[in-house]
């Protein structure tokens, strides 16, 4: 059986998929193809919300439980999720109004915001959680993946 990898690999690849979708929707909006842009945006939003939910409901609480740090990096990540959600709402409105200029601007801001956010997660927070999880990393990874994909198994819950 192929090695499924850890949640670090999984969530990192999730980030890359979102980048590609965001770049694509921006390109479509720039070209005035709003139907295509909205379709890409719908998938991007659904993926991003599920990704944030997996982090906030499983990964961040696990980090806080393992390290005892309650108001540290996870809190900062939650604040940045909030910033991203506000921008997602802005992009949504701009696409509904067929405003290519604003859609481009908000999508650009969202791309940059997510890049620096993702970098901190990938290089700092995820490795820290993985290290803290120790031998339970595989179980944690399975829970994160299932939370992300909306298929929670009771036997994997803590």
């Amino acid at each position: 059986m192929a090695d499924p990898g850890t949640f670090v690999d999984y969530l990192t690849a999730d980030h890359r998929d979102s980048d590609t979708l965001l770049a694509w929707l921006q390109e479509q909006a720039d070209a005035g193809c709003f139907a295509e842009a909205r379709a890409a945006f719908a998938r991007f939003r659904a993926d991003t919300l599920a990704h944030f939910a997996a982090e906030e409901n499983v990964l961040f609480p696990e980090f806080e439980r393992l390290t005892g740090i309650q108001n540290g990096p996870t809190e900062v990540m939650r604040v940045e999720h909030g910033d991203a959600l506000a921008l997602i709402a802005d992009v949504s409105l701009a696409l509904e109004e067929h405003d290519a200029n604003r859609a481009h601007g908000y999508a650009e801001a969202l791309l940059i915001l997510l890049q620096q956010h993702n970098l901190k997660e990938e290089y700092i927070l995820y490795p820290a959680v993985l290290g803290a999880a120790g031998s339970n990393a595989a179980m944690l990874s399975a829970r994160v993946v299932q939370a992300r994909e909306g298929t929670v198994r009771p036997d994997l819950q803590p």
Partner: protein, 449 residues
């Protein structure tokens, strides 16, 4: 199975941890943008001063030893590039390493002022032949850069992370320290008039600065910026391992030059050129395969940077293989203005609007509409400025072979820098105006999707 697909697509490594404080990953660790902006404005002004000097001084660029050439190079490197690069590091290091560079409220403005002041002193020394000016300028510049290097070292040694980006920051730091060590030996030799100045030492002083310090920082930034902002694949892991050898080639070449071992100097220089060429080719390949197609000033700048580093590497090989000194001048122009200058220009168009936007967002409790990223520095103004810079850089590289081009090149580059200063000042004024207004507005509840 989705997890397997994700695993295959994953490219980032995860071999360390750097959470040293509860707020280690906070954007709040980034300093107020005012400090970074001050560094950037001073730096762009320093680069403009270098081009103004070349434009007005008869015979500038006639040879690498012409006083105006030496003065312009130090104005550009110490008074221009260095402040911009340290300003960018204030923002880049916390994101790349999770640790903020320490800030010294009272000392930072002095440290910043010492860079252009030191560069001006050195320029005055070269132009007048007065050793006192040169010594004072070099002393100021060396002190400021050494303290700034110490600040970067302080953060890097505390960081437990061993990612390619952190390694590249180490390369940059070693490059800066190598350039400063060579400079210190040169200035002591000049001041004491005890020994003949070694041309090899001057060569390696320049190579540590351009290939080590600027090259290392560009490698660090590229490792993060190219995949993320251009939406490309990551640089191959083997590249990251190879790039770490940069200080070794610099050290081997310097030792060879010092000891007169030509057999060590040649291969070291070719290895440096091969590394630079490989970086240019890899970057160009990634950019051409980018999943983000918009040809904005940022992307044009990165294409220019990739071409600039390939041109620099090629000219460096030719310069080393021939006795015609004009190739050495062209190599220097390509390295400083084509590679480093264009890279800085492109990054400023991304860093400054994002910092302004980010700090607005943090204060925008009223959720009012604010200028968009591409409106903070108007996109329509960015591209012409970038093309003017590129045209000026091309003419400057050609100027050693056609000296009549030197003034036109310098004037184009001066126009480019003045335009950039104007655009940055407008953006920073807009930032302050809106920050003031946002602080006065009441908060509004906003529902998220």
């Amino acid at each position: 199975m989705r997890v397997v697909q994700k695993h295959r697509a994953a490219e980032a490594g995860s071999d360390g941890s750097c959470v040293s404080s509860p707020m280690a990953v906070s954007t709040a660790d980034s300093p107020s943008p005012d400090l970074a902006f001050a560094h950037m404005l001073v730096g762009v002004g320093g680069m403009g001063a270098a081009f103004a000097l070349v434009a007005i001084w008869p015979g500038a660029l006639a040879s690498r030893w012409h006083p105006a050439t030496l003065a312009a190079v130090h104005l550009f490197a110490v008074g221009g590039l260095a402040p911009v690069m340290f300003g960018a590091l204030f923002q880049f290091v916390p994101v790349a390493s999770g640790l903020a560079l320490p800030q010294w409220r009272r000392a930072d403005p002095v440290l910043l002022a010492a860079m252009p002041a030191g560069a001006s002193g050195m320029a005055a020394g070269f132009l007048t032949g007065e050793l006192a000016w040169l010594s004072i300028g070099a002393g100021l510049g060396l002190s400021a850069l050494l303290i700034s290097a110490g600040r970067l070292a302080f953060v890097l040694v505390r960081c437990q992370q061993r990612t390619p980006i952190v390694f590249a920051l180490y390369v940059a730091l070693l490059g800066l320290l190598g350039a400063l060590a060579c400079a210190a030996v040169l200035i002591v030799g000049l001041a004491s008039r005890a020994t003949e100045i070694s041309i090899a030492l001057i060569d390696w002083h320049a190579l540590w600065a351009v290939a080590g310090w600027v090259g290392g920082l560009v490698l660090a930034v590229a490792g993060m910026v190219v995949p993320m902002f251009h939406v490309t694949d990551a640089y191959p892991p083997a590249w990251g391992r190879w790039a770490r050898s940069l200080p070794l080639w610099l050290l081997a070449g310097s030792l060879g030059g010092w000891l007169g071992w030509a057999w060590l100097v040649g291969p070291s220089r070719y290895a440096l050129a091969a590394t630079a060429l490989a970086f240019g080719v890899l970057t160009m390949r990634l950019l051409l395969r980018s999943r983000r197609k918009a040809l904005d000033a940022f992307r044009i700048g990165w294409f220019g940077l990739a071409l600039g580093v390939m041109a620099t590497a090629s000219l460096g090989v030719i310069a080393h293989s021939t006795n015609d000194t004009r190739w050495g001048l062209a190599f220097g122009a390509a390295g400083l203005v084509g590679f480093a200058g264009l890279g800085v220009n492109a990054m400023l168009y991304r860093i400054v609007p994002f910092l302004i936007w980010l700090h607005w967002q943090r204060r925008n409790k009223a959720r009012v509409r604010l200028p968009l990223l591409h409106e903070i520095i108007p996109a329509a103004a960015q591209r012409p400025q970038m093309w003017i810079h590129a045209a000026g850089a091309l003419l400057l590289i050609a100027a050693p072979f056609a000296p009549e081009l030197a003034r036109s090149a310098a004037l184009l580059l001066l126009i480019s820098e003045l335009t950039l200063v104007l655009l940055l000042v407008q953006a920073m004024r807009l930032y302050r105006k809106n920050v003031h207004q946002l602080d006065l507005m009441p908060a509004r509840q906003q529902s998220h999707p």
